[in-house]
């Protein structure tokens, strides 16, 4: 803890100074802040700090243990890399939103109880939406709005679950939960929304491609991985998650294969990778949880690398539509290399992805889930084809779209370079990452059989891709969108709503009209009696006043004597 400030809050409060600093100072300050956070985190010892009681509930804003430390480190690293990537961009809103978003993500990871978690959860939602709105286009605004509704909706579910749990168990501590009652179901659904479970996943492919160039890099790291962390913390070993994870790993690939907007392809492949982590959480064994942490660590790196590459293309060329790109390797050679490293490190040996994902795969295999393991194999082959090869091929090598542009700006190259180096280093020297993992389980990724199996998988999926391209079976990238589950709430629901309104409104209007008339009549009636000319307000002749006195006296006497 730097000067006693909890890790997440350090960034969030630090953001307040950002607008005050001019140009270069601001960029330096924004980079040093997460660095300081990382350095403070490195020294921190595990335990629960700053606990206080809020009404009768024990609040533990900072809890540091093996699992949260790993996520804490990677979140800080991701924050640093994203800030470096965004050096060229001096839109204050985006800078502040980005850092605050990273801060709230880190805060959520270290939250020890559901209430602190809820606060950071909401903070993440509200700060991240500005990264989408920073694009300042109408569709970005609308996508951001849908994104916000879904994220805040997840926050509300989390809160209601927390309240129910506090009511039932009397404590809001955030630890392993079982799916028995409504409270934990609500909390699971809340985590599921942010972890892009099937049917809740649409905000991911809908909002991420709409965010700004640098915004998506921030977005890709925190929300989803924080959701994975809370799932790993709250629901390890829940059988249901294995099947949900498997589904998540499979279906996005189909969309990614035919999708035109390359950042949307990456978003779908992000969803697919989350599937791996969710399966890991579902299996729940020590090895699996290690796998989840390692995979999250590696995935943040190579996914943000890919998003950076696509961001650079979008920044230079102005579009990431596969149908309009191609042949950029000539004008952006460095970005091409980084993109290839990013694609490779999805699961190629000697890169980060390989050593991380193999943990999950072998955990699944060890615990005897053949079908799940097959789906995961299908998914890992597919994801290499779709987000690895397709992105690189269509963006940089396909038929020349005739677009020429300068190389990505220097800060982008630095950021991508650093991320690439990290991917390679972690891939090559795996014990470093394994030392960071929560449970210490001995696992050797680089066995001969494992390497060859992995190479076979990759080379044959590349073969499939080459044959499909050669014989023109690969669907041409065409400028259209493909319907997803979100058609329900973006098309059918509005139509239904309009239909209901058209039915109800005539009745409603007439009812309102009657009400208004009734009111007017009443006021008019009141006015006739109480208005200036009314009997009650007119200046009475003295005689009638005296009459009233006599009447009242008579009345009282009658009552008293009766």
């Amino acid at each position: 803890m730097l000067w006693g400030i909890p890790p997440g809050l350090l960034l969030i409060l630090g953001v307040l100074l950002v607008p005050l600093l001019p140009g270069a100072w601001r960029k330096a300050y924004m980079t040093i802040l997460p660095l300081a956070g990382l350095w403070a985190l490195a020294g921190a010892e595990t335990g629960v700090f700053y606990t206080f009681t809020f009404f009768t509930y024990e609040i533990a804003p900072v809890r540091i243990d093996g699992l949260s430390l790993v996520f804490g480190y990677i979140f800080h690293i991701a924050a640093i890399l994203s800030v470096v990537f965004a050096w060229h961009n001096n839109d204050t809103v985006e800078q502040m939103a980005g850092l605050a978003y990273a801060g709230s993500g880190i805060g959520a990871v270290f939250a020890g109880d559901l209430i602190t978690l809820f606060i950071y959860w909401e903070a993440m939602a509200t700060t991240s939406v500005f990264l989408i709105w920073a694009r300042r286009s109408d569709s970005a605004f609308r996508a951001g709005m849908r994104y916000l509704i879904i994220q805040v909706g997840s926050g509300v579910l989390l809160l209601s679950g927390a309240i129910l749990m506090a009511h039932q168990t009397g404590s809001v501590a955030f630890d392993k939960m079982t799916l028995g009652n409504l409270a934990t179901w609500l909390i699971l659904i809340a985590f599921g929304i942010k972890c892009a479970f099937p049917f809740f996943h649409n905000w991911l492919p809908d909002a991420y491609p709409e965010a700004s160039v640098t915004g998506t890099v921030f977005l890709s790291a925190f929300t989803t991985k924080c959701a994975v962390y809370v799932l790993a913390r709250g629901f390890p070993g829940t059988e249901l998650l294995i099947y949900v994870g498997a589904a998540m790993a499979a279906f996005p690939l189909f969309y990614a294969a035919i999708e035109n907007d390359l950042r949307r392809v990456l978003a779908y492949s992000l969803n697919n990778q989350l599937g791996f982590m969710v399966v890991g959480v579902g299996v729940g064994s020590a090895l699996a949880i290690n796998g989840v942490a390692a995979h999250a660590f590696a995935h943040i790196l190579y996914k943000s690398l890919l998003f950076m590459a696509m961001g650079a293309v979008l920044y230079r060329v102005g579009t990431v539509k596969a149908s309009e790109l191609g042949g950029l390797h000539k004008s952006m050679p460095l970005t091409t290399i980084f993109c290839i490293i990013g694609a490779a490190s999805i699961s190629t040996p000697l890169f980060a992805g390989f050593i991380a994902k193999s943990l999950t795969l072998s955990a699944a295999a060890k615990d005897g889930y053949p079908v799940i393991w097959l789906i995961l194999m299908f998914a890992s082959a597919g994801v290499f084809l779709v987000s690895g090869v397709k992105i690189v091929y269509f963006a940089f090598f396909a038929n020349d779209g005739g677009k020429r542009c300068k190389e990505a700006p220097l800060n982008m190259q630095i950021a991508m370079g650093l991320t690439a180096i990290l991917c390679v280093v972690i891939g090559v020297y795996s014990p470093w990452l394994y030392s960071l993992l929560p449970n210490d389980v001995a696992y050797e990724p680089y066995t001969l059989s494992h390497v060859i199996n992995q190479l076979q998988t990759l080379i044959f999926s590349a073969l499939a891709f080459a044959l499909l391209i050669r014989f023109k079976f690969y669907p041409p990238a065409v400028n259209s969108i493909y319907l997803d589950f979100d058609i329900t709430y973006r098309k059918w629901l509005p139509v239904l709503y309009k239909w209901i309104v058209s039915l109800v409104s005539p009745g409603w209007k007439s009812m309102l009209q009657d009400l208004r008339n009734g009111l007017h009549r009443m006021v008019a009636y009141m006015f006739r009696h109480h208005g200036p000319e009314g009997i009650l307000a007119r200046t009475w002749p003295t005689g009638s006043m005296a009459l009233w006195v006599a009447l009242l006296l008579g009345g009282f006497l009658l009552i008293y004597y009766s």
Binding site: T539, P541, T542, G543, S544, A546, L547, A550
Partner: protein, 121 residues
């Protein structure tokens, strides 16, 4: 004490009640401001009679401290009524002053005319 004695025995109270009712009636019924004041006076005089009749002691003379006078009617109500009379006079004087001013302003002292003038204004 039979009904007849009851009525004859308390004839002064009956007079007081009669005066009070006529006074009130005049105030209620008459529109002329001065007549109302006269009615008010009649009403107050009924109070005076009520108090005085309280003070009467059988066979008592006027309450004067002098030798030879040992039975005298109760002096207290008399004194109270002195004050009440002063109050009555003051009220009537003020009322009449007001009527003079109203006559000056409105040109009439009939309450209905005054009322209509105010309404029309």
């Amino acid at each position: 004490m039979g009904d007849w004695e009851f009525i004859v025995g308390h004839y002064n109270y009956w007079i007081a009640i009669f005066l009070a009712m006529t006074g009130l009636y005049i105030v209620i019924a008459r529109g002329n401001l001065i007549k109302k004041l006269v009615g008010l006076n009649v009403f107050q005089s009924s109070v005076f009679i009520l108090y005085i009749s309280l003070a009467k002691v059988e066979g008592g003379t006027a309450p004067i401290l002098a030798r030879g006078i040992d039975i005298y009617s109760n002096p207290l109500p008399h004194v109270l009524i002195l004050t009440a009379i002063v109050v009555g006079v003051a009220t009537t004087a003020l009322g009449l002053a007001l009527v003079v001013r109203i006559r000056g302003e409105y040109g009439t002292i009939e309450e209905d005319d005054i009322h209509s003038q105010d309404e029309s204004m």
